[in-house]
């Protein structure tokens, strides 16, 4: 029998503690292509020569941490499925910026239905520029369907 994840213990041990840090640099041409492919039309997103040129607001969602969960996190009792992404732009991300990205486990919660318990893990990546200003947050949600008694 596979035990359900102990969510209280997970929160106590892992919540809001950075478990990964990455550095990214952003290239103007790639930012413009990203924005154009998404359908952006404003020059500030698709023209690198524009004085206010910046990354499109959902760009932070494309950045990935080095690991998905903290070291020592309990083994997941099922396959984790993508439950969505959220992004909150705070300041413009300019080309040439060296971005520091720190990731922590932001939330853990469960929903229970007739088919069992679904546990949601939310990791948050926080992006900073070279002088420590926060540029954006990007959340990734993973859902695990837990089957403690082996039933389908």
């Amino acid at each position: 029998m596979t035990a359900l994840l102990d969510l209280d213990a997970i929160r106590a041990e892992f919540l809001n503690k950075d478990f990964d840090e990455q550095t990214f640099t952003v290239d103007a041409t790639k930012l413009a292509d990203y924005a154009f492919a998404c359908g952006e039309q404003a020059a500030c997103y698709i023209d690198p020569e524009h004085p206010e040129f910046q990354a499109p607001p959902t760009f932070p969602s494309s950045l990935s941490p080095g690991r998905r969960l903290p070291e020592g996190f309990p083994e997941l009792p099922g396959m984790g499925m993508d439950a969505g992404k959220a992004v909150a732009p705070i300041k413009p991300i300019r080309p040439g910026t060296t971005i520091s990205a720190k990731t922590h486990l932001h939330d853990v919660y469960a929903k229970t239905g007739r088919s069992g318990r679904m546990t949601f893990l939310v990791t948050r990546m926080e992006l900073y520029n070279e002088i420590g200003e926060r540029l954006a947050t990007a959340d990734t949600r993973v859902v695990i369907r837990e089957k403690p008694d082996g039933n389908d």
Partner: protein, 141 residues
């Protein structure tokens, strides 16, 4: 035929207003352009055959690209908008080279904070919801 309406100020927005429908470019060429720009070069996004071998219906539009479509749609409706948050749920695959439509509706207006909330859905030609999103947007007063 619906008129393409844009708004520039909070006072222009009506509760329940439908945003102009946006039909994003889900062609393989455009998805390839996106994956190169994003550094997401998995064959599941750029090769129909490779994706089918993985049990997928075809090459997939990355979820983050669908999220980008939602933001672009908001900017097309409200060019002065500052997006504060976009939250997306990926319910089903968005298949490359298949037409999709994005609809949006204003679900809340907060005059104190100057923000508008919008619900957005990406649907295929069978009107099946593939992606659902909510966005909070700030507009000038």
């Amino acid at each position: 035929m619906s008129e393409t309406r844009t708004v520039s100020r909070l006072s222009d927005v009506e509760f329940g207003e439908a945003l102009p429908v946006f039909d994003p470019d889900t062609s393989l060429d455009n998805v390839k352009r996106f994956t190169v720009a994003a550094g997401w070069n998995s064959p599941r996004f750029t090769d129909h055959e490779a994706a089918r071998k993985q049990g997928l219906p075809g090459a997939l539009v990355p979820g983050i690209m669908s999220q980008g479509f939602l933001a672009a749609m908001i900017h097309r409706w409200a060019p002065e908008a500052q997006i504060e948050n976009v939250d997306t749920i990926f319910r089903a695959p968005v298949v490359v080279d298949e037409p999709h439509h994005i609809n949006g509706v204003v679900t809340d207006i907060d005059e104190d904070t100057g923000t508008v909330e919008v619900d957005l859905t990406v649907t295929n030609t069978k009107n099946e919801t593939r992606v659902f999103g909510t966005a909070r947007v700030h507009l000038p007063a």
